[in-house]
Amino acid sequence: MNPASRSPVAPVTALLEARGVTRRYGDGRRRVDALRRVDLAVPPGARIGIVGESGSGKSTLVRLLAALDRPTSGETLFRGRRTSGVPERGLADLRSSVQLVFQDPRSSLDPRMTVGRIVTEPLRSRRLRHRGDVPSPSADRLQEVLAGVGLAPELAHRYPHELSGGQRQRVAIARALAPDPEVLIADEPVSALDVAVRAHVLNLLADLVRARGLTLVFVSHDLAVVRLLCDTVVVMKDGVIVEQGSMEEVYDRPRDPYTAALLAAVPRLRS
């Protein structure tokens, strides 16, 4: 098999890139390398799933790509420009173009703010507004974004604790999409949701990615979920990438024994 045919790296400038990144926590005997010399390129328009179990380094990797954390060594880039070791004021383009959604909307949404304020907050950020085409934080934009994620306009006046888990996750997605980002990074966005709600949120994400041509980086422990949203998959274990390739090939014909074990462990409905 030609290894190049399974590489997700397209011959164009990657939108997001990690080059030889290592992230080390602690020192001496307590030293842990959460990531070890990882390379990853996310081309524009890609839908990449990053799969692994707890401690695999998947969340650490996306935090580095989003410049929420700094690599111990190696570098991260956005549109070919370095984002690691760069002061915050140099990250305006990244901040407005890359948005994140996390697993637990209860902890990522400010409980003291109304839904309307939460969703438009990124639009009021001076740093974000640095990008010329960021929509203004108008009432129209708010309604447009809420409608886009299937939330009723009157929810704008509610607080997060008054909403269901699924509604809260829609608010988090609305906030992420308000500044019209190019890249959406979603870290376990459906893991805390009931199966019934999960289906709605996954359908919403798929629709949004398709309609807006978003580049998607989707982190999950669940290969079955990643299969539905992503065209490329990266499998991580103990801080390194053990396998990557097209979703279909990895799902149907895993090459790495760990990927095979991960697939075999997914509980299936016996009926």
Partner: protein, 279 residues
């Protein structure tokens, strides 16, 4: 009804102004049978388990009947319930740290469960603890017994809790989302272990999960709950292969991610069932 566990018309309310948590739930569990309780959060599955374990808060108003081996548990004084827990019924919860004392070595905690029966002596208890830790898959039981809970991984802790749950050979083991917090590969190992241990001990199991696939792996029977009511129950093979109630049909459809072609819309419960039409 003469099962190991007979629940009849169980109603639980928390305050007058809130919808009842359980609206007259009835089911029977035979010795050795494994029943999965399925439903979304708020459906009443955990409240059902808490009622059986006598762990509902004092503010709960409970009516109906819960009989374990013929003995009525509704209205049983707390002191008598404490004598049953860990002896007549073992318990495994989602988060093992809630069941483990962080300041006590693992071996001593397992031994305390043995002492619940009041007839074990310290010496043979240590031997029993090590045997049991070996039984739940630890190759180095001495090291595990001498460790504190925080020194173990999530999967190891859940195996310890499982060891505690089966120590006194209870006739009933209640598991509430026992593997939800675990990684998939660890989940698979813990479920295999649970399956083996239930098979060996012949204990019945009340298994609560929102995950239909996990239930189908462990249980012989399933009961689907919605808003405090049972909508459907029967053998797992029938419930998952030919669900009758539209809500169950929707649940099964949303759980079959493997049948969806990427790019296709996922089925939702609302494709099958509208809550407005319920009740």
């Amino acid at each position: 009804m003469n099962g190991l566990l007979d629940v009849a018309d169980l109603r639980v309310e928390f305050g007058r102004h809130r919808a009842p948590a359980l609206r007259g739930v009835s089911f029977s569990l035979q010795a050795g049978q494994r029943l999965g309780l399925i439903g979304e959060s708020g459906s009443g599955k955990t409240v059902t388990a808490l009622a059986v374990m006598g762990l509902l808060p004092e503010t709960a108003r409970v009516s109906g009947s819960v009989r374990l081996d013929g003995r009525e548990l509704v209205g049983l004084p707390d002191a008598q319930f404490s004598d049953l827990r860990g002896v007549a019924m073992g318990m495994v919860f989602q988060e093992p740290m809630t069941a483990l004392d962080p300041t006590m070595r693992v071996g001593r905690q397992v031994a305390e469960v043995a002492l619940l029966r009041g007839r074990a002596t310290r010496g043979d208890t240590r031997t029993n603890v090590l045997q049991l830790l070996t039984r739940v898959g630890f190759v180095d039981p001495e090291r595990i017994a001498d460790a504190y809970p925080h020194q173990l991984s999530g999967g190891q802790r859940q195996r310890v809790v499982l060891a505690m749950a089966v120590f006194n050979r209870p006739g009933l083991i209640i598991c509430d989302e026992p593997t939800t917090a675990l990684d998939v590969t660890v989940q698979a190992r813990v479920l295999d272990l649970l399956d083996e241990i239930l098979g060996e001990s012949g204990a019945a199991c009340l298994f609560i999960s929102h995950d239909l696939a996990v239930v189908s792996r462990v249980c012989s029977h399933a009961m689907v709950m919605l808003d405090g009511d049972v909508v459907e129950s029967g053998p797992v093979s029938q419930i998952f292969a030919a669900p009758r109630h539209p809500y169950t049909q929707g649940l099964v459809a949303t759980a079959r991610l493997d049948l969806v072609t990427p790019g296709e819309r996922l089925p939702t419960i609302e494709d099958y069932f509208r809550r407005e039409d319920f009740r």
